[in-house]
Each structure stands twice: as C-alpha cells, then as structure tokens.
Amino acid sequence: MTPVIGGLAINLALGLAFVSIILHFFYLRNGDGRLFLSGQRAALAVSLLSILATLILAQLLITSNFDVDYVAHYTSFETPFIYKITALWAGQSGSLLFWLFTLSVYAVITILQNQRSQHKIMPWVMIVMTTVQLFFLILINYVSNPFIPTEADFVVENGLGLNPLLQNITMAFHPPMLYLGYVGFTIPFSFSIAAMAERDMNALWMRTVRQWLLFVWLMLSIGIILGGWWAYQELGWGGYWAWDPVENASFMPWLTGTALLHSIIIQEKKDMLKVWNMALIIITFTLCIFGTFLTRSGVMSSVHSFTASSLGPIFLGFVFLILVVSFLLLFNRKSFLQSEKRIESFTSRESGFLFNNVVFIVMCFAVFWGTIFPVISEAVRGTKITVGAPFFNQVNIPIGLILLLLTGVGPLLVWRRTSNQSFIRNFTTPIVMGLATALVFYILNIRGYVLVSFSLSAFVLTTIGFEFFRGIRSRMTSQKENPIIAFWRLIRKNRSRYGGYIVHVGIVLMFVGFTGHSFDSEKEFGLKKGDSEHLSGYSFTLYNVREEERPNHYAYIADMIVADASGKSIVKLHPEKRIYFHHNPNPERRQPHSELDIYSTIKQDIYSIFNSVDLENEVAYLKIMINPLVNWVWYGGYLFVLGTLVALWPPKKEIS
C-alpha cells in the first residue's frame, strides 16, 4: 500500500512540475495573476509530494519492508535503526530521491520567503527550480525508481544489509550536509537566471543571493570536512583526502563558490564584476550537477561512487543544456550587466579579490582536468590513464600556498587604493614573523613546501592578529572599553569582516594540519601475545586478542598497550577486525572490515589498524601510523564553521 502511494506521489509530482512550468510561462506572457498563483501552488505541490515520497521511503526502510527492492538491497533486520535511515541515501535511486527532497525543502522555503516580495523575478525563479526538480523526477520515475517491488517469486525473509563502510555515524551527517550544499546552489542559480531574464538585479536580490550563497557554501564546507573525517576514521589508510574523483566533485563547486563569495562583495559594494559573478554562479551550479553525474554515471571508479548505470548520458545532457541556455542568456544580457566602474589600483581590495578569484579558478581547472583526464584519455587513446594524488599535489600545493598568501594579504588591502604608508606599516611585522619562522625551520633542517607553508601560516596569523589588535585598540581608545568588551563588540559590530578573519584563521590551522602530513610514519607487523614493536619512539605491546559476537557483525579485537620512549604506558588501543553478515551461509557475502582505534592529541595521532588475524598461530597483523598535526585540520574546521556562522548571523538591530 505505502510503496504504491510513494510511487504515485512521484508520478503526480512529475505531472505537476510540467503544469507549474507551463502556468508560469503563460503568466509571463499575459500577466494574469491567477496563472501565477496557480503555477506557484503547483510548484508547492511538486515539492510537498516529493517530500511525502521521501518520508514514505524512509518509513519503508525503518519498517524493513523487503517487498521493495531498494529496502531489500540496503537494509536488513540487523541493520541498526540510525543506519536504516541513512540507507535512504546509500543507493542510487534513494540518493536521487534525497536530492529531490532537499531541493523540494529549499523550494518551499523560497516560495514562503518571497510571498510578499520579488514578484517580478519569482516566476523565473520557480521555472528554473521546478525544471531542476523535473529533471530529477524524470530520473526517479523512469530510470531509477526507489519504489520498484522486489523481483522474487518468494517472500524475502531478510535484506542484504548496509555496506559496513557506511555504518559510521559520520555517514548520518556527511551526505545530508553535502546535499544541502550541492542542491542549495540551485537557489542562487535560479535567482541569477531570473534576474538576467527580467533585467532586474536590485539590492533585495543581492541580499537574497548573498545570504543563500553563504549558507549553502557553509553546508558544502561542513559536508567536505565531514567527508574527510569519515575517510580518516573509517577507510583505514590514515589520510582524509585522496583526490578521489568524487571528492574532487565536491571540491570543485566549493572552489568556484568560494571565489564567488569574495567577488560578489565587490558587486555589492562597487557594482562591478556582474558578468563575472553570473558566470561563476552558472559554473558553480553546473559543477554541482556534474559532481552528481560523476558519482552516479559509473565513469569513475571511486570508493564513494554508485555502481555503473545508464544515468551518465542523461546527466551530461542536462549539464550541456544548463551551460548552453545560461551562457546564451548571459551573452544576451551582457550590456545590462556591464559596469562603467573600473578597478583603480593594483594595491586595492578589489584587485586582491579579483586575483584570489583567478587563483581559485586556476585551481578548479587543475582539479577538473585531473579528474576528467582518465575519461578523455580513454576516449582519445582507448586507454584509461589515471592521474593520482601525485599529480594533484604537484599542481595544487603551490596554488594552495598562493591562496594562503592571499589570505594574509587581502585583509590588509583597502577599497580603491592602499596607501604606501599603511602598506609598509601593515606588512612589516607579518613579513618579519614569516621570515623568522622560515629561519627557525631552516635551522631545523626543514625545506621546500613545508618551510613555505609554515612561514606563510605565521605571516597570515600575524596579519589577522594585527587586525584584531588594531581594532581592539581603536575601540579601547574611542569607546573607552576594556580589551574583552572591545574584542566582543568589534566582532559583533563587524560580523562579516571579523567572521571572515576567523574563517581565515581556520584555514591557516588546516594548512598546518595538511603540512603535518609530510612527517607521517608507519609500520606493518605481526604480533603474538606479549610481543612488542617500535615506531617513532613508541612501543606497541599486544596483550590480548578477543572475540565478540554483536547484533550485526562478529569482531576480533586486538588489545594493545602503547608506551613512550621512557617505557611509561600512555594509552591502550583496541583496533578491531569485523566480519559483517557473518551469519550468511554464503562466505562470499560475509564482509570483513577493519575498525580503527586512534589516540589523538594536539601533537599527533597514533592510528592503529587490525589488518587480519591468524587464529591457528595466534598472530595479529597490525598497522600503526603516526600522523603529526592531523587534529589541526579538524580544529581549523571548527573555526571555519564558527567564523562563517558569525558572518552569517543577522545583526540584532539594522539601520532603518
């Protein structure tokens, strides 16, 4: 019964999406408000039906209704409750429905938010958003339907269960955050197409686009950071970023989105760069759809991607359509978007932002090229040539370091022109700090990118610290405030500016963490009970190997004592080797999985992996990695999120 309603809901939503688009077009043609209201209600109905369908699928997953093929494929009775919910986005059709669900929630908010305003552009906004919904509804109805019944002439007693790699609590948050980011870019894109179509780009439009941009960018950023956290905690290779095609798919729109966040400030303040910003919005949204294509088409092999499917050409067609229509419109509206103002000086904040934009785009292109190169090489030469992490690191590390430098330089530049005196005054101390750091690391025999990265980090932190210091000092003098109150009010009264600085501090901490990767060390060994091994001044002693049967897996647990160079015990680690689906009579369906145990400190992580166990000879095979400064990446991530929230938080009282 419920699967039927779910199927019907997406059928009906598909029909209503067509109706909504047609009604809006007719309204634009003859201006009869009844058509607008009816079209908007149809759009609302499309969203509500899509949300209903998603809730129905969630209910089917929770109640283990194995009559539905998707439920039987991605859950079992043993699957814990939380992972029955996360199974919603674990498979192809479910994840497409979840994409639609997210977009539908956004569409409802957009409609409700703009009931009393922006009526001139709203029909176009709804046409664009509903067209994107229509695309996903076509896929869900005709290509990958999550409500298809199980093809079996017998009662399915139990489902196959969820992939153990996805049975990690981060998976409850990482994909929804990514979706909120990816899908959310539809809103600024829709508003931009609408503004170009109607030649109406006023300050209200700017407010809407900027706020949405910042919000969806934050969601995408959190999604990417959580993805890195999940990879680090779950995949067992000791890293958080592997330049995997699907990781790159989320990173590319993040890069262009970050460029856009900077350049749109110039549009808001100076009424410049409108053509550039429109192009960036189009590219960012297209990259979001392209990323969805990469994950689902099967053209790339990745730990994150779904199995090969027929979705690829359809997605590529949609990407092509978006690019052609959007850029034709942009070309047609070029004269409306062009500004008479020009950048006045090379040493202005405008040129700093523009330069940062160029660097972001170069980096995005490098990632894009490396990502699609295997496909191009296969198409041209018939052999798939994969470019791995060495290529991406070689190209992106220098570009990343330039961006890090700009993170420090940008805030010290002022609008229009930076005076020579302020240039010298603002940059002297940070440059001295950067050089001093370089000297210290040089003496410590550290060279190359590591030295540059630490020196630039010191330079940027000093520039930001200097900015805070001067702001606080200014308030202390002019407002007679104590340093703590001055610090608090400085941020509260300039949220956008100082929120941005906090984000920049977060980025510096992340760079410190990335750089720590250069000092990683690792060792693989087999141990019998009571034996020890040594790595980087630590000893690892195996004192027990236990076995435990749990509801959805069977676990072998290695109990280890870690001691420092003086022999003092510092921690006990318990990495596990798990066998999922261990009750399955078919041994091929039983899935081994290594559950890590990590001892984290601010200085480094001790990362332990239980590779395998030889029960006959009582040997546990383990891998230990010492990963310096990893936690700085996560601390940077927290600050990054905090800073964006500060910038996003609306002021208590606005000037009226």
Binding site: M1, V4, I5, L8, A9, L12, L16, V19, G31, D32, G33, R34, L35, F36, L37, S38, R41, A42, A45, L49, R116, S117, Q118, H119, K120, N202, A203, L204, W205, M206, R207, E268, K269, L412, V414, W415, R416, R417, T418, S419, Q421, S422, R425, N426, R470, G471, S474, S478, N494, R497, E654, I655, S656
Partner: protein, 88 residues
C-alpha cells in the same frame, strides 16, 4: 479498495489546491505587498555599512585622507539620493 480511495483523495486534493486560484476574478494583478521601496532601503543599509567600514579603516590608518574624503562623499551622495526618493 483502500488504495483506490487514497489515490483518488490525493489526486482530488492536489488538483483542487492547484486549480482553485483559476476561479478567482479574471485579470488578477500580482504586486509586491512588501513596500516597493524595499530594494532602495536595502541599498541604503548597504551604503551605511560601507560608510561604517570606511570610517573604521580610516581610524585604523588603512586609508589616506584624500581617498577617505572622496570615497565618503561619494557614498554620502548616493545615500542622499536614495533618501530623496524615499521621502517623496
């Protein structure tokens, strides 16, 4: 039977919800109920914020006297134009 009723109800409710506005008075005009000056007021807020930031940069010594005076005057001029329109 139940599925038939549910399906019928869903179709009926959705159709009624979407079609209902078409039965309103013909030629209905859609206007922004939020004041038409909302965009100008928003622009004014942006300009005030820019003046505040400019003053802060000046206080911090990031900007020269002549640049500060010229930029501030330009911003004030735009604010004055908006205020004139809003007060009409």
């Amino acid at each position: 039977m139940i599925s038939f009723v549910v399906v019928f109800l869903m179709l009926f409710v959705m159709a009624a919800f979407v079609i209902q506005p078409l039965f309103l008075k013909p030629g209905l005009e859609i206007k922004d109920t939020e004041k038409s000056s909302a965009a100008l007021k928003q622009r004014k807020k942006i300009l005030y914020r820019q003046i505040k930031e400019l003053d802060m940069d000046y206080q911090l010594g990031n900007i020269q006297d002549d640049d500060y005076g010229q930029t501030r005057n330009e911003l004030k001029k735009e604010v004055a134009e908006i205020l004139t329109i809003l007060n009409r």
